[in-house]
Subunit: 197 residues, 2 copies
């Protein structure tokens, strides 16, 4: 290597921790920042520190917020009878972008993953049950992923929520918008057929 | 969105500046760091600052170094008669990993890109000509990319270096190791045929 470069190696290591970044990408990022774009390196460092300092978890939905109560939870126009459960802030953002949901949210800390030792308590199931029992929530919409782990999470949460007398629904499964039927996988078509309306 | 989140947006913007990172990846990284892994966010911020502070450009090869003269340039065992010209530190690292080059390097600031207004002076051609005229360098090996821009860069540099009486070579083009001939593109095979040995 060009240098003993302990600081360079430390930077590459830290960049590798980002989701979706492997060794090659991390090296490319580090070289780019240091060789060509030191202003961006400084900017990223400051942005990381400012965000870590100011962005907290909303005390009600546990999503990201710069205030103790996030904008959605604080909005009196949102329908407090609906509570949509998502795996993380990215899913919440995706749902918000659709503009077709006016209820509130609860943000889990990921999804169940028994093989990695991630159980219901780790993802915030206790807080969800507490939140859903506020007396206002009538329907809990489970919007976890449609993967094996997301489905398992939805199943476990549905049982616990139903046991508390709450109405529990799940996002519809079906053919994605813009799809040609012949290219859609069979399990999706089967679900779309069962859930036809 | 879940929050007015100006600090979150600033972080997403800063992450987007990384090479190969689009909006979606930047959002995913920001959400991951803030929701699940604040320790990594802090670590990355510190690593960026430490690297920006300590990693400088070697005064001789212009590569990345934590000392005024990098490890390679300072190594008396390296062959000062050979000077390998690369587009950036990543290429230098790749060549070093091969373990088959014992000469010195010169690191350009990228490659010529006339459409973006990047000319010979911007990539450090002047410094290269100065460096190559140290009296010790006998052969300049042009190891810029085998893309249109990399080839143009090699061509321009070769002319200037030859005009100063230096021997100029280029990395061999040919069939990559491990390739089956029928899957190699025709231009590569044509080059390999011309440069057969």
């Amino acid at each position: 290597m060009n240098a003993p470069a302990s600081h360079l190696d430390a930077l590459i290591d830290a960049l590798r921790r980002l989701p979706g970044v492997g060794v090659k990408s991390a090296q490319r990022m580090a070289y780019h920042l240091l060789q060509h774009d030191r202003a961006s390196a400084q900017r990223l460092a400051s942005a990381l520190q400012a965000a870590a300092e100011h962005v907290q978890h909303c005390r009600r939905c546990h999503g990201l917020s710069e205030t103790p109560l996030c904008g959605i939870c604080a909005d009196p126009e949102r329908d407090a009878r609906q509570l949509c459960v998502v795996e993380g802030p990215a899913d919440l953002a995706a749902l918000e972008r659709t503009g077709s949901y006016r209820g509130l949210y609860f943000v889990l800390k990921g999804r169940l993953s028994p093989l990695d030792g991630v159980g219901a308590r780790d993802i915030g199931a206790t807080e969800l049950l507490e939140r859903a029992a506020d007396g206002q929530v009538q329907e809990v919409i489970l919007a976890t992923s449609f993967t094996a782990e997301g489905e398992a999470t939805a199943h476990v949460l549905a049982q616990a929520l139903k046991a508390r007398g709450l109405q529990v629904t799940r996002l519809a499964r079906g053919v994605p918008a813009g799809s040609e039927l012949e290219y859609v996988d069979l399990s999706t078509i089967a679900h779309a057929l069962v859930d036809r309306r």
